[in-house]
Assembly symmetry: C2
Homo-oligomer: 200 residues x 2
DNA sequence: TACTCTCGATTGAACGTTCTGTCAAATAAG
DNA sequence: CTTATTTGACAGAACGTTCAATCGAGAGTA
């Protein structure tokens, strides 16, 4: 029974599934144990001090939502007609990944009732993404590719434009009924954005 | 003890607070009872068959997010430079209202784990708002005030542009750190949107 | 090889607590 | 007196967590 993946990881995976599906309160130590294929809930306490610690360990395991945003240098000078669709595609690809999707649901769902977690997500993800975009858009204004404007606002506007389409995939399936495809949305949205900000 | 507000309403109010703060699983019948000033949890079962029914009753009580969108006729022919900022302001006003804010947190938080609830919210709110916008934007294209384009996409884009700013008020307080005010954001975002869609 | 010792991994059972939901009795209202 | 409201007490189940006992692989010894 020499598993390549050790028990700790099995438990973490099972806990992730359970927390994502039922939330922190809804998932039980027993259900996590049985999902992990261990016969006794007690084993979980051999690896983690308590349920809260297991939850935090799950968050840490899946936390590094690494994105191309990590090294901004390569993007900075490339034109927005190229870069913005790439960002949008990367975003939709993340949303299309089932694991990422579960993670988003888990974090967002719990964040509603855990201000501390919300603060962490806001700082680790939201602020960082917007920060990158603000930098990039400022640079494009400098380069004369976009007209001068408030990049705090345009950064929000750009990521925001993608959100309803993403929400249609994650949560509100009814939004898919009008059949708008990701690529169509990217094209139109980026077009509106760039036309709206092109130099006079 | 002849309260103006009857017991049922007291219980509903208390349940709303508790569910919003702790979620369905986190809120207990006892905590709801004591928040409602009721001395026995048993009384709750006199008015509601079980916890689930109480939860549904809470949702129904606060459900009618009535918005100006209900009678679209009056908006349809007015120009987007007027109408879009009004919609944006109405949206931010809703978000600024503490009760609405709690309701959003409650519904979104539970929707992550209740596909059926997510479906309902999607249909009752998201699809309806987008539907109204699609209709309005189509009309503006007809009137020659906007260039022809895919309104499924532009409707998503417009509501989406507002979401990060709203999220900064509801959830991710760190987003407020760059100090962007609602009115500033509305002005820039609407400007991008209209410039991006103005007839050639 | 055979035997024992050790120690972490794993288990079933159980503890105390808390939860939802029930009930018969007490109280208030008409 | 009759009916509706409100109560405390509690049953039954599920929860997180603890614990002593068992298992199994490896080290040491003969």
């Amino acid at each position: 029974m020499a598993e390549v993946e050790d028990r700790r990881s099995q438990i973490l995976d099972a806990a992730f599934e359970e927390f994502a599906a039922k939330g922190f309160k809804g998932a039980t130590i027993k259900s996590i144990a049985s999902e992990a294929g261990v016969n006794s809930p007690a084993l979980i306490y051999h690896y983690f001090p308590d349920k809260e610690a297991l939850f935090n360990a799950v968050l840490e395991t899946h936390a590094p939502i690494r994105s191309a945003i990590e090294n901004p240098a390569s993007f900075m000078d490339r034109p927005p007609e190229e870069v913005l669709p790439e960002i949008a595609r990367a975003y939709f690809a993340t949303v299309a990944n089932p694991t990422s999707r579960r993670m988003m649901k888990l974090m967002l769902g719990e964040a509603m009732r855990r201000p501390q977690l919300a603060e962490m997500i806001g700082r680790a993800t939201a602020v960082r993404v917007l920060g990158f975009l603000k930098g990039y858009l400022s640079r494009q204004v400098e380069l004369g590719r976009l007209r001068p404007h408030d990049v705090r606002s345009s950064a929000r506007a750009f990521v925001g434009m993608l959100i309803p389409q993403a929400a249609g995939k994650i949560l509100f399936t009814a939004l898919r009924e009008d059949g708008l495809e990701d690529e169509e949305h990217i094209e139109t949205a980026v077009n509106i954005f760039l036309e709206g900000l092109k130099p006079k």
